[in-house]
């Protein structure tokens, strides 16, 4: 049952991901991205990462993707226009990526992972929250600063002056 769900989710993710990079209409790509991100959120749930799944949906689907759609709207270009949406290197890139993928799969299958036989705490929110405030407080603060800088930077860059 779980495996079946995994395959379904995996299929959704892979297909929508491929569509993201292949669709001509960038707006459609964005829609496919949303679908893909939902699939990933499903994978998180499958992996018992309930907090992350929530964050994924809230932040990615609700935040980043919307932001991208806004950007597409602002630049209002290319939607539905018959122009080349690939550069001159999709074929070599495809080949490279294919070989990379093969190499990765080969190395994954060859590697023997030491899988632990333990159960993770459920729900994870409290544990993550505590960890962020104790062991990972410094990275946490750094990330907050990074976000702030990115925010201000984005405003400064995009600002019309």
């Amino acid at each position: 049952m779980e495996l079946g769900v995994f395959y379904i989710l995996a299929a959704v993710i892979v297909v929508s991901g491929l569509l993201v990079v292949t669709l001509k209409n960038i707006f459609h790509s964005a829609l496919m991205l949303i679908l893909c991100l939902f699939g990933v959120a499903g994978i998180y749930i499958l992996l018992h990462a309930d907090f992350l799944a929530a964050v994924q949906v809230l932040l990615y689907v609700g935040g980043v993707t919307i932001l991208m759609i806004f950007a597409i709207m602002v630049t209002h270009q290319l939607t539905g226009k018959k122009i080349k949406h690939y550069n001159e290197q999709p074929v070599p890139a495809g080949l490279i990526i294919l070989s990379l993928l093969i190499l990765l799969i080969v190395s994954i299958t060859r590697t023997a992972f030491e899988v632990a036989d333990k159960a993770e705490p459920m729900p994870t929110v409290a544990v993550i929250g505590r960890a962020l405030m104790t062991d990972y407080v410094l990275p946490f603060e750094v990330v907050s600063v990074v976000l702030l800088v990115a925010l201000i930077g984005a405003i400064v860059i995009a600002r019309r002056d």
Binding site: Q89, I96, S99, L100, L103
Partner: protein, 641 residues
């Protein structure tokens, strides 16, 4: 008055300045100013003479000129009887010549300039006479040389005249080298150049005799140049290219006598140094003989007189070399008058006949009574005929030689006296008597104007009487006025007087036979003694000798040095330059092809690579990312697989 005697010299200088700055266009004003100045000088000189007669002096007045540690060069005025006499001689002759020049130079386009030069000369000569130091003497010595140069070359359009001026200047300058060297020796030894101080030191034997001999001979070299003594006599005959009044004033009466004057001034040295005295005496004697011998055969009226001058100057030098201070200076004075007269007379003749060649003259006595008479008087005087002035001074010279005991020189002097009488009367007879040999010139001849004849008459009187001040029986005459140390009155030697007169009369008689009576044919004589005649006629080939040796050497040497300068020194400099340039070129080549080649090579290789590689750098980020992932793939492939 005597303390202001510099005024005598400065009046002509003032006149020079006035003429140059204000009257350079006006003939009347120029000659007027010049003559006024020189006559005033003459009057003042007379006053000075009387003051010196009252007090022999010497009267010395010193003026500071240069004064620094190790170098004291004052200027001073030194008036003793000799200077006083010379002042008289110079101002008298100069006055006569000035007046004479009005007539002689009449119509010359540079008339004012001529008078300005005459004034300048008079200034220099008077300055020379009153100088109280060898240094000041040297200054005026050079200045008279300059004016002589200017006046000889007065008609500088004539190349001969310009050449003669240059020759005179340079030849006398060679003598002046000796003068200068003598000054230096004297200064180094004595620390002063004042006559009085040096005389004093010599008297007290504070200067070594050897130095005195050297200094004496070197100073005498100056006199050799200026007084045209052998071997520097060659300039004086050439100097006759100048206007005749100039010849009379400068090259007969005054400037050339400056050498004699200087020799008299170094009498104290000569007396001390036997060798110097002998040298001087023999040079004088030889010059007298040589010049007289040349004078025998010359045809140019002025050149005959020029050689006569050289010869007479030799006489004076001879006398001084024999210690005859009084005799030498006495002859200097008398000679000045009669030789000036001769020259002015010759000038008058030339003015009338428009030629210098006595062979073209003849019979001019009828046309020019005053000139011919005065000329005869002067000739008698120079020949030494009693009782004219030449007789007395020549007699003094014989006496002084005899007293010194140089019998050889005495005989020489007497022979020269005979030669003098001969050539002077040869001149007189050829010029004034006989048939005119050039009718055309004879027809044009006429007596000169009064401005020219009056000076002749005045000088003729002096030529007769000037010698009377030195008559040996006169005890308060010249000898007790102009003397060295103490008056010297030699006993009159009647024997010598007789010999002198006989020789003179003999010379005149010979000339009379040859050129008046024509009983001896001069041409035949010349042909008979052809060798000697040619030798004398060509002036002993001195000019040719100098031309062939000294001058040629100088010209050769200057070319050699110039070639050396260009070919060696400058060549070396240029060689260094060229070597530098060559080096530069070489290293430039090296630089371009090797060093820069390497650099450029590196550049070329790089560019060549880059030309290929730059294509990789597209600027498109995705291409770069592509490479990154290619790298990742390859990395994994080779590292792990």
């Amino acid at each position: 008055m005597i303390e202001y005697s510099y005024i005598i010299a400065f009046l002509p200088l003032l006149s020079y300045a006035l003429i140059v700055f204000f009257f350079s266009k006006s003939n009347k004003m120029a000659s007027g100013v010049a003559i006024t100045a020189v006559l005033t000088s003459f009057v003042l000189s007379t006053i000075v003479l009387f003051e010196v007669l009252a007090d022999h002096g010497p009267h010395i007045f010193e003026y500071e000129w240069i004064s620094m540690p190790g170098l004291e060069l004052p200027l001073s005025i030194y008036i003793d009887p000799l200077a006083a006499v010379m002042l008289m001689v110079v101002t008298i002759v100069s006055s006569c010549v000035h007046i004479y020049s009005i007539g002689y130079m009449h119509g010359d386009p540079r008339f004012p300039r001529f008078f300005s030069f005459l004034s300048l000369f008079t200034f220099s000569m008077l300055g020379l006479v009153i100088s109280g130091t060898f240094f000041a003497t040297f200054i005026f010595w050079e200045l008279v040389g300059l004016t002589s140069y200017l006046l000889i070359g007065f008609w500088f359009e004539k190349k001969v005249a310009a050449d003669a001026g240059k020759k005179a200047f340079i030849t006398t300058k060679i003598g002046d080298l000796g003068f200068l060297a003598g000054l230096l020796i004297l200064y180094a030894a004595a620390g002063t150049l004042n006559y009085e101080d040096i005389y004093h030191l010599i008297e007290h034997h504070q200067i070594p005799v050897i130095i005195l001999s050297a200094a004496g001979i070197l100073l005498f070299c100056g006199a050799v140049g200026k007084s045209a003594q052998f071997p520097l006599h060659v300039w004086l005959p050439d100097a006759m290219e100048g206007p005749t009044p100039v010849s009379a004033l400068i090259h007969a009466a005054t400037m050339v006598a400056a050498g004699v004057y200087l020799t008299a001034r170094i009498m104290s040295i000569i007396v001390v140094s036997e060798s110097a005295a002998i040298t001087i005496a023999y040079i004088g004697g030889f010059t007298a003989l040589m010049a007289a011998s040349i004078g025998l055969v010359q045809n140019d009226i002025k050149r005959v007189l020029a050689y006569s001058t050289v010869s007479q100057l030799g006489y004076m030098i001879l006398a001084l070399g024999c210690g005859g201070y009084t005799a030498g200076t006495f002859h200097l004075m008398t000679h000045a008058f009669f030789k000036a007269l001769l020259f002015l007379g010759a000038g008058s003749v030339i003015h009338a006949a428009h030629t210098n060649d006595i062979q073209e003259m003849g019979g001019l006595a009828k046309k020019m009574p005053i000139t011919s008479k005065t000329f005869f008087i002067a000739s008698l005087s120079i020949a030494g005929i009693f009782p004219l002035s030449g007789f007395w001074s020549k007699d003094e010279i014989f006496l002084s030689i005899l007293e010194e005991g140089h019998i050889g020189l005495l005989i020489l002097a007497i022979v020269v006296a005979g030669m003098t009488a001969f050539y002077m009367f040869r001149l007189c007879f050829l010029t004034f008597t006989g048939e005119p040999r050039n009718k055309e010139k004879y027809e044009h001849a006429h007596e000169s104007p009064n401005t020219m004849t009056y000076p002749l008459i005045f000088l003729a009187i002096l030529a007769v009487c000037a010698g009377w001040v030195g008559i040996p029986w006169l005890h308060h005459g010249y000898a007790s006025f102009v003397y060295h140390h103490h008056p010297h009155h030699p006993h009159p030697n009647y024997m010598l007087m007789l010999i002198g007169t006989i020789v003179a009369v003999g010379g005149i008689y010979l000339a009379y036979l040859m050129y008046y009576k024509r009983s001896i044919d001069p041409v035949a004589m010349g042909a008979r003694f052809k060798g000697i005649y040619t030798f004398l006629f060509n002036k002993w080939w001195f000019d040719e000798l100098y031309m062939g040796t000294v001058i040629r050497f100088v010209y050769w040497f200057m070319e050699v040095l110039y070639r050396f300068d260009q070919g060696v020194i400058d060549w070396f400099v240029n060689f260094v330059g060229r070597f530098g340039l060559f080096n530069a070129r070489f290293w430039q080549t090296f630089d371009v092809y090797v060093i820069d080649g390497a650099v450029n090579g590196a550049g070329i290789v790089t560019r060549w690579f880059a030309g290929g590689l730059r294509k990789i750098q597209t600027g498109a980020v995705q291409n770069y990312a592509f490479v990154v992932f290619l790298g990742v793939v390859l990395f994994i492939l080779f590292r792990f697989m």
